[in-house]
């Protein structure tokens, strides 16, 4: 018995090694099918893609390959609509190379040769390290930061970058950050809220290293700054298109997925509700709190629960595009988050993606550190600074086909005002604004301050030892009018 087990384990290991094998044949004009598959009941393209490539978003490769093959060999099916495949169809599963050609840079192949690395410095170069909370292939938050890292590699001379992914927040993060500093990295970006205190501790120990924390409020005078941005502007755009679509659907109901009851998420959700009310004054927004940034199952369940309750457009504030897919499967639409290609493969049912464009600000900071001009600050970028985008409306992009044509000019107009800086987070959050119980929260003519937007209550500031900021007076702790009157923020304390 023992022997059988060990033989099996060797076979498993060999199988593992073989599946990692990068095929060396490059796709030419002709499509080579790695294998054929016959569609079964309950199959859909992304499920098959997930099975063969380990990623639901790779299904356009199968779509393209099968159609290309069908042109020459009619035993293969011709797929007209990626959302509609029939049992019995023969599909072509292309080689991994072909898939990569079709998908462009979209497919992360974490096991491919160049991606296994030892994060080290290179003498004579500017060494920049990134600490990620998730996996670089998450298609969301961490993916977007990793794109920023790749932007540095591509656009700056004489820069060496490295990353550490899936670093738990807390004591492990402190060790990881400290060891990067010990190795001699010149700039260290830490990209999750929970890295705030560890980054601050290590920054004190290594005065010659620059530390930049994403999404917090701590800094010091010499070598520790923080960066975040007005994603609320893009969520407002998301709300506008969602409202217009829900009105077109006749449901007048939008659902939003909220990860955690923190000021950032509340602010973004409120911005979406304000945008929705702008294009659809009768629309109502539903909300689900899921207490995670990344959990494909929970995100999907939250979307389905709101679809069951009558919503026809889903906006997600979490990392995966699963909610968009869930809406698409019922013939409805949704909006993904974080990275510009989050709706890859879901173009037909996606209304847009509010995304982060970290590359330019990373490049500015690294250049500033090199010149000695960088000064730690609370940097809060906006659309005008190029830190943010709304996929479908930025330069060289087309709105997705499901976006109601009637709302496009107004959205382009609002985006133009955001880029010009004439419409921003402060004008967005200007009273009179009521909460979803009808109580006035922002009086007429009053605009929220930056501290109000960030929800810097005295309790929060003392709990996290935030210094040098004014406390908020109208703290971000309410849901605005537009939310269903039964919606509430989970009580803390």
């Amino acid at each position: 018995m023992k022997k059988v087990v060990s033989v099996l384990s060797i076979i498993t290991l060999l199988a593992l090694i073989l599946t990692l094998a990068p095929a060396n044949v490059l796709a030419q004009d002709e499509v080579t099918c790695e294998s054929d598959v016959v569609v079964q009941a309950d199959d859909w393209l992304s499920k098959i893609a997930d099975k063969f490539f380990g990623d639901v978003l790779t299904f356009p490769a199968i779509f393209e390959a099968t159609n290309a093959k069908a042109a020459a060999d009619d035993s293969y099916a011709t797929i007209a609509d990626a959302n509609l495949i029939e049992p019995g169809w023969k599909l072509c599963i292309p080689t991994a190379e072909y898939a990569q050609v079709i998908l462009g840079v979209g497919v992360e192949a974490p096991t491919s040769a160049e991606s296994i690395q030892i994060p080290t410095i290179v003498e004579g170069m500017t060494n920049v390290a990134f600490v990620y909370v998730g996996h670089i292939g998450d298609g969301g938050w961490t993916y977007a930061h990793n794109e920023g890292r790749r932007y540095l590699e591509a656009n700056l001379e004489n820069v060496n970058t490295a990353y550490l992914e899936s670093v738990p927040e807390g004591a492990d993060a402190e060790r990881v950050i400290r060891n990067l500093a010990r190795q001699g990295f010149d700039v260290i970006f830490t990209t999750s809220f929970g890295y705030m205190d560890p980054t601050g501790v290590v920054a004190e120990e290594f005065p010659d290293t620059a530390f930049v924390h994403i999404s917090g409020q701590k800094k010091n005078a010499t070598n520790f700054g923080n960066v975040f941005g007005a994603m609320e502007e893009m969520k407002y755009m998301a709300g506008m298109v969602a409202g217009a679509k829900a009105a077109e659907d006749g449901s007048n109901r939008v659902g939003i997925i909220a990860p955690f009851p923190i000021a950032e998420v509340i602010r973004l959700s409120n911005a979406a509700a304000l945008g929705m009310r702008r294009t659809c004054p009768d629309c109502v927004m539903d909300i689900r709190w899921i207490f995670t940034w990344f959990d494909p199952v929970k995100e999907r369940e939250a979307a389905e629960s709101m679809l069951d309750a009558g919503a026809t457009v889903i906006i997600t504030g979490a990392d995966t595009p699963g909610p968009v897919q869930a809406a698409g499967e019922r013939g409805f639409t949704g909006l993904a988050y974080d990275s510009s290609n989050a709706c890859l493969g879901l173009e037909a049912v996606c209304l847009g993606v509010p995304y982060w464009n970290w590359g330019p600000i990373y490049a500015d900071i690294v250049n500033g550190v090199r010149d000695g001009t960088w000064v730690p600050e609370d940097y809060y970028g906006s659309t005008a600074d190029g830190l943010l985008g709304f996929y479908g409306f930025m330069e060289c992009q087309e709105p997705y086909p499901s976006v109601p044509a009637s709302v496009i000019p107004e959205m382009q107009d609002v985006l133009g005002q955001m880029q010009a800086g004439t419409f921003n987070r402060f004008t967005m959050f200007t009273g009179p604004i009521n909460d979803n119980q009808g109580n006035e929260v922002i009086p007429a003519g009053v605009s929220l301050s930056q501290s109000d937007l960030e929800g810097l209550s005295e309790g929060y500031m003392s709990a996290f030892s935030i210094e040098g900021r004014e406390p908020c007076t109208i703290c971000m702790g309410y849901l605005v009018e537009g939310f269903d009157s039964t919606a509430e923020i989970p009580p803390l304390n």
Partner: protein, 366 residues
């Protein structure tokens, strides 16, 4: 000719070392194939892992930080395993210990409490909370015969959710799933605290928790080796019926063992919070209580062995930082673990190649 696997009657002293060494070699070779396949020079990769985990001036400290909860929880698991009481719920006991520690540090004692008193009360609270959580499966087992494997494991999930309730609810600081940090009076002394006097200690975060680990190991060693209770544990473990005939109180011993086992795991949670995390948060433990089971087992339930294995495990975890993406070091860690545990078989069984018996003899039997 056939292969026969039979139990070893006596295990040579060198055998466990040889089997672990052999397992390591096999694991490293398998890992090397994967690394080479991924385009990384295995020698460089292993050298980096060894360097960061064990050889750098700061490695001892970093590795100790990871090893401390493994050692404390591993000792807890070992106490129970010694009497064949399969407490696999150390993770839950660790969470409960951490919860009580955070309660003392943040809410139940004023932050101005003198450090020795604060730490003493936290230690007591951590031990007692873990002990209570361990006692539940103990009492159920002793009084009702409930399988402790199931009950202790299930209580782990209860403990984790209980913890989550507090970090998102009554004790939350802003909805992030964590509490405010402990006041400095609730922090274990760390090497880095003396960094101003001795610059070499700057940035070394090893903390007093390891002293707890060493004391606990020595106490357990003495108990196992010299005390009457240690002897009872072993007898009950080997043969409960004989133990009962000999007049040993099984129920009392089961509960007592689970109390101490859970208490030590609770202490692991206490030490992790007071020493490394300095606040209560969701998922503060990456499964220390479960890894502790492996540590205890590979340490052969010997307190000193557990310290050594815990330290090596800590080093392996720290060494994982040097290779990216994160799945690769996890895979190597998994392969090493798999091989070491498999090799354990060779110390218990021998493989003999037996020639087929002469045909005539078989025929004669028929």
């Amino acid at each position: 000719m056939r292969v026969k696997i039979e139990p070893r009657l006596d295990v040579p002293r060198w055998m466990p070392f040889a089997s672990i060494f052999g397992a390591l070699v096999v694991a490293l070779l398998l890992g090397a194939i994967l690394l080479a396949y991924g385009g990384l020079d295995p020698v460089t990769a292993y050298w980096q892992m060894l360097r960061v985990g064990f050889l750098e001036p700061y490695s001892f400290s970093d590795t100790m930080v990871k090893a401390t909860p493994l050692i404390l929880a591993g000792l807890g698991v070992a106490v129970a395993f010694k009497m064949r009481l399969w407490n696999i719920g150390a993770e839950g006991q660790l969470f409960l210990g951490a919860w009580a520690t955070a309660g003392v540090a943040l809410f139940w004692l004023p932050p101005t409490t003198p450090k020795p008193i604060m730490l003493a009360v936290m230690t007591l609270a951590g031990f007692v909370a873990g002990a209570v959580w361990g006692a539940i499966p103990g009492v159920l087992k002793a009084k009702l015969g409930v399988n402790e494997i199931i009950s202790s494991l299930m209580l782990t999930y209860v403990a984790i959710q209980y913890n989550n309730y507090f970090v998102y609810g009554p004790w939350a600081a802003g909805g992030f799933g964590l509490t405010a940090p402990f006041p400095k009076t609730a922090w274990f002394p760390r090497l880095t605290d003396y960094g101003n006097a001795i610059p070499a200690l700057r940035g070394l975060t090893a903390h007093m928790g390891i002293v707890y680990g060493i004391i606990a190991a020595v106490v357990l060693y003495v108990i196992f080796k010299y005390s009457k209770w240690g002897y009872e544990l072993k007898v009950i473990g080997d043969n409960p019926n004989a133990a009962r005939y000999a007049g040993m109180n099984l129920s009392r011993n089961i509960i007592l063992t689970m109390v101490i086992s859970g208490g030590l795991a609770g202490l692991a949670g206490m030490s992790e919070l007071a020493g490394a995390v300095h606040r209560l948060q969701e998922n503060f433990s990456p499964g220390y209580g479960f890894t502790a089971i492996i540590v205890a087992w590979l340490g052969r339930l010997n307190p000193l062995g557990i310290i050594i294995v815990g330290y090596l495990f800590g080093g392996l975890l720290v060494a994982g930082d040097v290779i990216q993406p994160a799945g690769i070091p996890l895979m190597i860690q998994g392969i090493i673990l798999f091989c070491v545990i498999s090799a354990d078989t060779f110390t218990r069984y021998r493989i003999r190649i037996v020639r087929a018996a002469p045909v005539t003899a078989t025929a004669a039997e028929v």
